[in-house]
Symmetry: C2
Subunit: 111 residues, 2 copies
Amino acid sequence: MGVTKSDLFTEAQNELALSAKALAHPARIAIIEFLLKSDTCINGDLVNELGLAQATISQHLRELKDIRIIQGTIEGTSVNYCINPRRWTEIQQKFNQIFNQYRDPTSKDCC
Amino acid sequence: MGVTKSDLFTEAQNELALSAKALAHPARIAIIEFLLKSDTCINGDLVNELGLAQATISQHLRELKDIRIIQGTIEGTSVNYCINPRRWTEIQQKFNQIFNQYRDPTSKDCC
DNA sequence: TTTCCATATCGTGATATTACGATAAATAAA
DNA sequence: TTTATTTATCGTAATATCACGATATGGAAA
């Protein structure tokens, strides 16, 4: 075992879980935040900004790229990464869907 | 290695990553959604609803309990679980903070 | 061409996660 | 007391994640 039983769950549940997994590491949060305020960046920028090895940053970038949160274009010898705006909005909406099912901020603890 | 270097990141980044990690499994998404529509439930309800073993459900419940998304009260021989409303709102706000840094829905791909 | 530079990928070790059977603990019912 | 019922925890196997050094790739500069 040790493998998630995706077939037991809905498409929406699996997709939200995968989106959450992409955000489930502080380095990837930091990369996204860096991109949100800088528009673009390259691997080397992130190696300086965060204290992780180049190979590790590259691995995190690939995870974000795999789920299409970021995209990159080759610029000479380096790669320019940026947020994929549509995908970012799409993922935000997935999260909002579950968060907005709870709407009463004044409700007390229920159990 | 194999352990996240939390000391490289801000408190907010680490907390958001931990919140995302709690949502990074479809079974836990399913449990939360079940609770959002039913208010409360017991482990046994979830064993019927999802197709996972009782021990597995219990393990997922504990992860959600550890991060305080849910709370439980003993009710005779069973345990009543429910969403922790304040914590749920708090986590929603953590996600909104990063999502709301990107506001232009009409912007085109940047790279 | 040769030498840099930036990035991706490979290989690997350490650790974490997922899943479940078996068992323990604690209350309810017979 | 004995027997169910319900949940938590333990132990464990399979797999995934995290981090990094080493290496490969591909373009730029000398």
